[in-house]
């Protein structure tokens, strides 16, 4: 089973099935190979350790992290989610919609996997899904949608006016796309930002995570930044 080795990830060395063969026929060759192998592993580990100290984060780093724009939305519970109140935590933010069949579930699934791998460290991370489909998405429906992935996830459905100011403040675009001829008018899809935003503990937007980011890489970053 191949495993990616990265900062914070353990290096997995596979057993060579042919080793037994060598052992039976060439004990000295085995010792030589073992020594070489151990040296190679040590060298790789040393390089990895050195690069981890100042390795760049995965995703796309924001050159000059800027203060996260305002985001305050009334939740299904009636209380208000205020991003600024989460300063001190890491906040992952994704703009999508609940009838999004493909990309949004992929992103939320990756968040779920990353969160699970963080264990208790995940308490310092907030995962927020913001609907950009005010016509169809409700606060309760969006909340349930996000929590279906993890009970700690937050799903927000801003009203149209709220969404308009959020889009302007965050400089994000989202709009309804054309439906197929003959399809029901409410079966539209919504174009939305591809990447997730990471707001650091100082409340600044620091990294953008494109959808193809591996959840393992996201988890490594969250561990390093917490």
């Amino acid at each position: 089973m191949a495993r990616r080795a990265g900062c914070g990830a353990s290096l997995v060395v596979e057993r060579n099935p042919r080793r037994t063969f060598y052992h039976m026929t060439h004990p000295r060759l085995l010792r030589l190979l073992s020594a070489l192998g151990a040296a190679a592993v040590a060298a790789v580990a040393a390089v990895a350790a050195a690069s981890c100290r100042d390795a760049p984060l995965h995703g796309v780093a924001v050159a000059d992290p800027y203060p996260a724009p305002s985001l305050a939305v009334t939740m299904a519970s009636g209380s208000r989610y205020v991003l600024a109140a989460d300063t001190g935590k890491l906040v992952l933010l994704y703009f999508g919609y609940t009838s999004c069949p493909d990309y949004c579930p992929m992103m939320l699934r990756d968040w779920k996997r990353a969160k699970e791998s963080l264990g208790a460290l995940a308490d310092g991370v907030r995962f927020v899904f913001v609907s950009v489909d005010p016509e169809r998405d409700t606060p309760a429906g969006t909340d349930a949608y996000a929590r279906r992935y993890d009970p700690a996830f937050i799903g927000l459905a801003p009203l149209q006016a709220e969404l308009d100011s959020i889009k302007t403040a965050w400089n994000v675009t989202a709009y309804k796309e054309a439906v197929s001829p003959g399809a029901a008018a409410n079966r539209y899809s919504v174009a939305h930002p591809a990447h997730a935003f990471l707001v650091n503990r100082a409340g600044r937007v620091q990294v953008m995570y494109p959808p193809e980011t591996l959840w393992q890489d996201l988890a490594v970053d969250l561990k390093r930044m917490r």
């Binding site: 609940t98 009838s99 999004c100 069949p101 493909d102 990309y103 579930p105 992929m106 939320l108 699934r109 779920k112 349930a144 949608y145 279906r148 992935y149 675009t173 796309e177 439906v179 197929s180 001829p181 399809a183 029901a184 079966r187 899809s189 174009a191 939305h192 930002p193 591809a194 990447h195 494109p210 959808p211 193809e212």
Partner: protein, 170 residues
């Protein structure tokens, strides 16, 4: 562990199902049935050795009732002529339409694939995450992991394939 689920049919009748842990298992070579905990291979002796159209790796993402989800599969055309997928449906949903997701300028877009989708002989139509998929809308009930979502695929030559997509949790 990768698990493959293959259902194939000729003339609309489901000829058999292959669920095998062995990648690349060829259906139809065996007359009779072999069933173990992980392998169930069923084929009929009076059918062609390799069905002309094969759908494999069919799965759908779990979803709530009335929600929208996606189904993914690969259609392989073993026939000697081009065949086109012209329509899809599911008795468990209001609509099932082919869409393609794509990224452009840091945005995610989705385009309906309205026309026939031709599959040349020996070629495949691949539906996968982040690309072409079957958007299944208006589910009549919730889909939970382990369920199967029935899908009907209509082809240009009149063939209808009955596909059973395994529902997976995210």
């Amino acid at each position: 562990m990768m698990r493959r689920l293959v259902r194939f049919s000729a003339g609309g009748a489901v000829a058999g199902a292959v669920a095998s842990a062995v990648a690349g298992a060829v259906a139809g070579a065996v007359a009779g049935a072999v069933a173990t905990a992980v392998v169930a291979l069923v084929a009929c002796a009076d059918r062609p050795a390799v069905p002309p159209l094969v759908v494999r790796d069919a799965w759908a993402r779990r979803a709530d009732s009335a929600a929208t989800t996606a189904a993914y599969f690969v259609i392989v055309n073993h026939d000697t002529t081009t065949v086109a997928l012209i329509a899809a449906s599911s008795p468990m949903a209001e609509s099932a339409t082919l869409h393609e997701s794509m990224q452009m300028n840091n945005m995610v877009h989705m385009t309906p694939l309205d026309g026939p989708q031709p599959i040349a002989p020996g070629d495949s139509l691949v539906l996968k995450e982040g690309a072409k998929h079957l958007m299944v809308s208006g589910l009549k009930r919730a889909l939970v992991a382990g369920d199967s979502l029935p899908i009907l695929l209509n082809f240009s030559d009149g063939r209808v394939l009955h596909v059973s997509a395994v529902v997976r949790a995210p």
